[in-house]
């Protein structure tokens, strides 16, 4: 790794720090923001996320190699961490740090996209079921029961087994479309309780149309658990993606997803522990940060604390 790469990494860290400080400054005036940052791990967690996002975006600057480059398969495979290869090289002679950074793009990207698909579907289904109730609700919730009955991994395994090779976009879509059941239940429960509140009745008495009632009165007040479940959802998707890739059924090799990296390093774990350990640590760290942010958000957005 060159001096420039090190400087770029330092720059990314500084940028992440500044970003967190800025978020803190902007939200610190509201009571929710204050409660969020009162959570002891909120700020560190945000920093971890900001750092990974920054280096992922600036991948070419912070890494010395392309992620696919086998530097010197005969002499530089399973090279221990050094100044040149800060996290060592993998059994195929690729720089683990470079792959980790490019892998962040894939792993975080899949997490965010699949979560977006899942949360959007969940909010729409849960919102519709909760607001219209009756047979709409009954039908949708039975669908959700079935969805929840089938463990996601098995559902995905089945699809992968039947369709042979699944393109990445389809995989993301699949992960998203198998991940909204819990969210929809959550949203439905929240909508059901919000719609019983009197300000919703007041809006209806004033002649507000259902769309206005849902968009302006119900959903904003049901948003807190949705946001929390989105934060936790990214982490879950990342874990799922890692598992699938580890089994060789996720992101097609040699793309550097973190799950693939663990899988690639695993056979040589005894002699080159770093190749599997660092991507595993990266996943754990990011998921932990997402969970911590989720916890802090839960406290910050808790409507019961709003009146205090």
């Amino acid at each position: 790794m060159s001096v420039w790469n090190w400087l770029a990494v330092g720059g990314a860290a500084v940028l992440a720090l500044v970003a967190v400080a800025e978020i803190r400054r902007r939200t610190g005036t509201g009571s929710s923001g204050r409660r969020f940052f009162r959570h002891p791990s909120a700020a560190p967690a945000l920093f971890v996320l900001a750092f990974f996002v920054t280096v992922a975006l600036a991948a070419p600057l912070v890494t010395p190699y392309r992620p696919y480059v086998q530097i010197d398969i005969t002499r530089l495979a399973n090279h221990a961490p050094s100044t040149q290869f800060p996290l060592g090289t993998d059994p195929f002679g690729r720089d683990v740090w470079s792959r980790l950074v490019y892998g962040a793009r894939i792993s975080l990207g899949i997490g965010a996209l699949a979560m977006l698909v899942a949360v959007t579907t969940g909010v729409v289904v849960g919102g519709v079921a909760g607001y219209f109730r009756r047979w709409v609700d009954a039908t949708l919730m039975r669908l959700v029961d079935v969805g929840l009955a089938m463990p996601r991994v098995f559902m995905l395994l089945m699809v992968v087994a039947l369709w042979d090779h699944v393109p990445l976009t389809v995989l993301v879509l699949l992960i998203g479309l198998t991940g909204w059941f819990g969210t929809s239940r959550l949203v439905r429960a929240e909508v059901l309780s919000v719609r019983e509140r009197e300000f919703v009745a007041a809006a209806r008495a004033l002649g507000a149309e259902p769309a206005r009632v849902i968009l302006r009165h119900v959903l904003p007040n049901a948003a807190a658990p949705i946001i929390v479940s989105a934060a936790l959802g990214i982490g879950n998707v990342m874990l799922l993606e890692a598992g699938l890739s580890f089994l060789g059924l996720g992101v097609p090799s040699p793309a550097p997803s973190w799950g693939n990296m663990i899988a690639d390093g695993w056979p040589k774990m005894a002699v080159a522990w770093w190749a599997s350990t660092f991507p595993g640590l990266a996943i754990s760290l990011v998921v932990m940060a997402l969970n911590a942010v989720g916890d802090a958000l839960r406290d910050a957005l808790d409507p019961r604390k709003e009146t205090a």
Partner: protein, 343 residues
């Protein structure tokens, strides 16, 4: 008069506010006595500190965010409850001083039968056997007027109505025959016909068991019907204290007067749409009491002295000295009291 059973002196219970930046002085220097066998009414609007006062007596304030300031003093049977070791305090809680709460629904544990919950205190304090405690529980259910006590003892709280649950709460509190019963808004969550039942029950039990009752309520009507003496609280302080007939016949603090004028009365002359008098403004926040007399921003008589200097409790008794005290400077300059407040 006899010796007081419970002597509260300069009680200060403060809370750290939500944002951690300030202190809410919820109870700020409250003193009163409770005599054996009497019913003392503690009256005030929400935020005046009456519930915090009652919880402080048994040290049931959640700490943090709350804490009782050093210098406060609650004497019961010759001992300061505030400095007792936890173990000694537990021997008094539920045994000599018992409490009932406003929400009988949430104050009962949903997963235990009412019999178990009533028996529990007897088992802990009087070392009764399970069988004896169960018999006692049935006896208590009968005492509080629950029909079919032998069946009801095995029921869960959710199987009972609100009024029944409050009777269960009372049975639970009285199982060890305490000397003092603290009743914190015992009828607020109940309908008026059920409220009448519960008040009558409390009256009867007090006569039968001879305990002293501290009745915390916002309802002056309840106090008028049940209490022997009344303590009126405002903004964390006692503002007036008197025997019940005296207080209603001769209210002296402008707050007490305003409160009485605010109550819609069934016995008022039958003229629909008469105006109520009310008190202008609202109760200030406990983290931000006004300086001087805490009532002065809402008081129709306030003058410079009220804004600058906090009045002490002044004696206004016509009978026994100290029986009627008022925290108001008007007592020193009665000529300022002219016209009706609020008009």
């Amino acid at each position: 008069m006899t010796e007081p059973l419970l002597r509260v002196r300069d009680l200060k219970t403060y809370f750290v506010t939500e944002h951690g930046s300030g202190t809410a002085r919820a109870v700020d220097g409250v003193s009163f006595d409770l005599y054996p066998g009497e019913t003392l009414g503690l009256v005030g609007e929400s935020g005046c500190g009456k519930t915090v006062t009652s919880l402080s007596v048994l040290r049931l304030i959640p700490e943090p965010p709350g804490h009782i300031r050093p210098g406060s003093f609650i004497e019961f049977a010759g001992r300061n409850l505030l400095t007792l070791a936890p173990r000694e305090l537990r021997a008094i809680r539920g045994n000599q001083i018992a409490m009932i709460f406003q929400e009988p629904m949430t104050s009962l544990n949903p997963v235990f039968t009412v019999g178990d919950q009533i028996a529990e205190a007897a088992i802990v304090h009087q070392r009764l056997s399970r069988r004896a405690a169960r018999a006692r529980a049935i006896e208590m259910l009968k005492l509080v007027g629950i029909p079919d006590p032998a069946q009801r003892v095995d029921h869960y709280p959710h199987q009972m109505s609100g009024g029944m649950r409050q009777r269960v709460m009372i049975a639970m509190a009285l199982v060890c025959h305490p000397k003092v019963l603290i009743a914190d808004e015992p009828t607020t969550a109940l309908d008026v016909t059920i409220q009448a039942q519960i008040l009558e029950l409390l009256e009867r039990l007090q006569a039968e068991l001879g305990m002293a009752v501290m009745l915390i309520t916002h309802d002056l009507g309840v106090v008028a019907g049940s209490a022997d003496r009344v303590v009126v609280m405002y903004a964390g302080q006692v503002v007036e204290q008197a025997p019940t007939p005296d207080l209603f016949a001769r209210p002296l603090h402008p707050y007490t007067v305003g409160l009485l004028a605010s109550v819609p009365r069934l016995d008022a002359p039958s003229r629909a749409r008469a105006r109520l008098h009310g008190i202008p403004g609202q109760v200030p926040a406990a983290s931000d009491w006004p300086g001087g007399c805490r009532f002065h921003p809402r008081c129709p008589y306030a003058w410079d002295r009220c804004r600058e200097e906090e009045p002490p409790l002044l004696d206004a008794s016509t009978g026994e000295p100290g029986s009627h005290t008022v925290r108001c400077w008007l007592l020193t300059e009665p000529q300022r009291r002219t016209g009706r407040p609020g008009s």
